[in-house]
Amino acid sequence: MLNLLRSEWYKLCRNRSFWLLLSLLFASAVIYVLLNYYDDPNDGGALTGMSGLDLFASSMGANNYIIKIGLSVLAGFFLSSEYSTGTIKRAVASGYSRSKFITAKLLVFIVGAMLTALVFPLVNILLGSVLFGRGDLSGGISETGFIVRSFVLTLSLAAAFAAVTGAIATFLTDSGKTIGTVFVLYFFADGLYAMTGKFLPFVNTLYDYSIFNLITHYADPDMSGSDFAQSVSISLLVAIAFVGIGIAVFRRKEIK
């Protein structure tokens, strides 16, 4: 298993799409902070009221979309490309059990997704704090606690979305189909839940506890300890369940 993880990590570290994604997110985050920094307060700008924490909070909102879009692109090029290049055949024929192979693949993909999800908010809080100062939160909330909690939620939700994306990529095998399907699913999931919830009330409850809802308020400074624990637990359970689904799909899949 360790050999498989090392090999997958080696491939991820040499995956051009992965580095392009990280570079784009890094550049976007730097530009976002600098735009705020150079925004003229005498012309409607917000420089005077801005702090590293403010930037961090707003970047978490944007990161919601980054996690979804970034993951689908990464899945398309890291997972599905194994099928288009045919390298999946060699891996399956290499004598490892299919379960071990796909577990290693999905775990490394999840780690890659978690790293991707960290870039935008991390650059915002670091560069924002350097330029504007870290700032304070109102209501006596611990700043460090908020930052740590936000990062933990970012990582756990990224893991959950990555596992869902990974299972879809394992099922569809084609990078174009994976990117397309994940895009549609992630961006219309909220609407689908709302629409279905009108006819089936339990779907509303389901939505309340789904990762699609949790990610919309994962950067809430007022989040209670129990809500935080619930969000992390649900995210991790979703991640574990969908890695399991990915394994089950791959074990039965014939490689064409």
Partner: protein, 307 residues
């Protein structure tokens, strides 16, 4: 050599109602080069996919290095090197990086195996060039290199000469022969270039429409594809006597329609014709004949069709 590397029994694969493999009993003995011959869609790749674990059989069994099922069979696959269909490579990686990814996966210690393999396949000079910029021939060689990296005992190669130029085909043949003779690697190879396969294989399997029609050794094939001089004369009995007396040979046969097949003196046809004419015989037909692998294959699958 009775030790088996691969044996299938009644191996069958169906896709819905279509039968891709039908009760195939195949045997690949240790140390052999098994040429797998069949048309497109005959079932060659399907069998290779079943053996390598890419697809699952509908029924029947696969025995690989004596292992017959489940985890044991999967473990036996670690002793195989595989290159099926198109060269399976990471296009963004260099040749060395492709090998390194496979080395890490297989847990092969030490990086010296990378250089050794690159030298063996003649790609040590490719440096930082990404494999997406390789020619098809280079990709084929690298795919073979990846298959060889773990020093396998059994190589499964599906059309490894696709895209190779004539020199590349010769080099590939020489390399495979060397791997077989010097390192004792057993090879299962499919190829459309039957003349090439003829120079390489020690055993053959002919598959057609999912059925394994025949397995034979190169010696058996040679006998069945035996070259001869086809002779038709006015008095076959006298011609037979002339051949025995003047050319001192009994290596001929007289067919029911009076045609003589002479298996000797193939390199001296002028001597044969002179002796017959001197014996007072009128030559009606006189020509060298015989089958090669291609015509033998065509005759086995019903004629007129080619691999």
């Amino acid at each position: 050599m009775n030790e088996y590397v691969l044996r299938t029994q009644q191996l069958t694969k169906r896709y819905k109602t279509q039968s891709a493999l039908d009760r195939v009993d195949m045997t690949v003995r240790k140390g052999t080069i098994y040429g797998f011959i069949g048309q497109n869609g005959a079932g060659k790749s399907t069998l290779m996919k079943l053996v390598t674990g890419l697809a699952f059989p509908t029924s029947g069994s696969i025995e690989l290095f004596g292992a017959t099922g489940g985890a044991e069979l999967n473990l036996a696959r670690k002793r195989m090197g595989v290159a099926i269909e198109n060269p399976a490579l990471y296009p963004q990686l260099t040749a060395a990086e492709n090998l390194e990814a496979h080395r890490l996966q297989q847990g092969i210690p030490g990086k010296e195996s990378l250089k050794r393999t690159l030298d063996l396949i003649g790609l040590s000079g490719t440096g930082r060039k990404k494999t997406k910029n390789f020619s098809l021939g280079m990709k084929q060689r690298l795919a073979l290199g990846v298959a060889l990296l773990g020093e396998p005992e059994f190589l499964i190669l599906d059309e490894p000469t696709n895209g190779l130029d004539p020199m590349g085909v010769v080099e590939m043949r020489e390399l495979l022969t060397r791997l077989n003779r010097e390192m004792g690697i057993t090879i299962l190879i499919s190829s459309h270039i039957l003349s090439e396969l003829h120079l390489l294989a020690t055993h053959y399997g002919i598959i057609h429409k999912g059925k394994l029609l025949e397995e034979l050794t190169s010696r058996e094939l040679q006998e069945r594809c035996r070259q001869f001089i086809h002779i038709k004369v006015n008095v076959p009995e006298r011609a037979a006597a002339v051949l025995e007396r003047e050319l001192a040979t009994t290596e001929f046969e007289v067919t029911a329609d009076g045609v003589i097949r002479l298996y000797a003196h193939l390199d001296r046809p002028a001597d044969v014709s002179s002796a017959l004419v001197a014996g007072g015989l009128a030559l009606e037909q006189f020509m060298p004949m015989g089958e090669d692998l291609e015509s033998y294959f065509a005759s086995r699958i019903g004629g007129g069709e080619h691999a």
